[in-house]
């Protein structure tokens, strides 16, 4: 777990200090791709808590979702439809859902909750 946090921080620092930034034209696609990647990570954290984490599912989801999200955004630009919004909504909702499930499972582990509170 610590290894992962360190890896993320190191990545952020590397990105800050290398003198390259994303070209303006691709900026919006990269943003959507990042959202997809974030969603995959949240999904991984959730399944890790539940104990059914599978590395191949995680990696394929991470890479695949990112690519598809970017492709969608690009296609939308070509067709004149803001298709990237579909990705934003889908992944955004999923992130919140996963976060909610993680919260519940952590809190239920730590304390004994009544059934009423569990359903909130």
């Amino acid at each position: 777990m610590i290894v992962l946090v360190v890896a993320l921080l190191v990545g952020i620092l590397i990105g800050l200090f290398i003198p390259i930034s994303i070209p303006q034209d691709y900026s919006s696609y990269v943003a959507v791709g990042l959202l997809a990647a974030l969603d995959s990570i949240f999904g991984a954290l959730k399944s890790n808590l539940k104990g059914d984490f599978k590395i191949d599912i995680f990696i394929s989801g991470f890479v695949g979702n990112t690519l598809i999200a970017m492709l969608l955004a690009y296609m939308g630009d070509m067709l004149g439809i803001p298709l990237y919004q579909a990705a934003v909504v889908a992944f955004g909702v999923r992130i919140f859902q996963n976060f909610g499930e993680m919260r519940r499972s952590i809190l239920i582990k730590n304390k004994s909750f009544s059934k009423e509170e569990k359903n909130q």
Partner: protein, 247 residues
């Protein structure tokens, strides 16, 4: 993936690598977004700066005009003082004054007429070309032409002296006179015999009749004293030279 495990497993390494890439991309993206925002702000600032520069240059122009005026006054003083010295220079100066009037380089006054032209006040009607109810460069040109034919000795449009190089030309919604753009109304001043000037414009089938057909607003007043300012443009000649003798 459990917290207790100290040694990272293969899966963890894979995830760590992905996270590393994610981190790099994230910070690059943040940088790029910041840059684009900065660019937008720069563009705005540039526009504001340019607008300020234009205003500054306009002010400078006014000041320079004032300077020209003052320097010319000085020249005139020198000429006057020179004229008082000898008969020859006096004659020369008289000649110079005449030429200046002809070229429109002095402020002049005298009897004449003041014509005010404005676009039609009639509201636009369907199936009628709205252009025909607006003043055009050709209308002004015809009025000027008529005035000259009737012996006008000096003419100005909106206080722009009409000289030999003056253009009266359509420039979008405005009319360019001496490279300055004006929109309606146009006030044309002319010095000459007021009666003759007025009649030449108002004769039957003349230019005023034509303009009134398109309900253009025309007002002509005779005046015992019309003041017409001098030509304020530049007097630089790039191509024309006085022909030398024997060539």
């Amino acid at each position: 993936m459990k917290v207790k495990i100290k040694k990272p497993t293969g899966g963890q390494v894979a995830i760590a690598i992905l996270l590393l890439v994610l981190g790099i991309l994230m910070s690059m993206q943040i940088k790029s977004v910041r840059q684009s925002n900065e660019l937008k702000n720069l563009e705005k600032a540039r526009a504001i700066e340019l607008a300020e520069q234009i205003n500054q240059l306009r002010k400078e122009n006014v000041n320079l005009r004032q300077q020209i005026y003052e320097l010319e006054k000085k020249i005139k003083e020198y000429q006057d003082s020179a004229a008082s010295i000898s008969k020859t220079t006096e004659l020369l100066k008289e000649e110079l004054d005449k030429v200046k009037i002809l070229a429109g380089l002095t402020d002049v006054e005298g009897p004449g007429i003041i014509i005010t032209l404005d676009d039609s006040k009639i509201p636009a009607q369907p199936n009628v070309d709205p252009n025909s109810f607006l003043l055009h460069d050709s209308d002004i040109l015809q009025v000027i032409n008529e005035l000259r034919a009737a012996g006008a000795e000096a003419i100005a449009i909106n206080d722009q002296r009409v000289v030999s190089t003056t253009e009266i030309r359509c420039a979008g919604p405005t009319i360019s006179i001496n490279n300055t753009r004006y929109s309606a109304p146009y006030i044309i001043k002319a010095i000459g015999d007021p009666k003759i000037l007025k009649n030449s414009l108002e004769m039957r089938g003349g230019i005023i009749d034509l303009l009134k057909e398109f309900s253009i607003e025309v007002k002509i007043e005779e005046a015992s004293k019309v003041v017409i300012p001098r030509y304020t443009g530049s007097l630089k000649f790039n191509y024309v030279k006085i022909k030398s003798e024997g060539s």
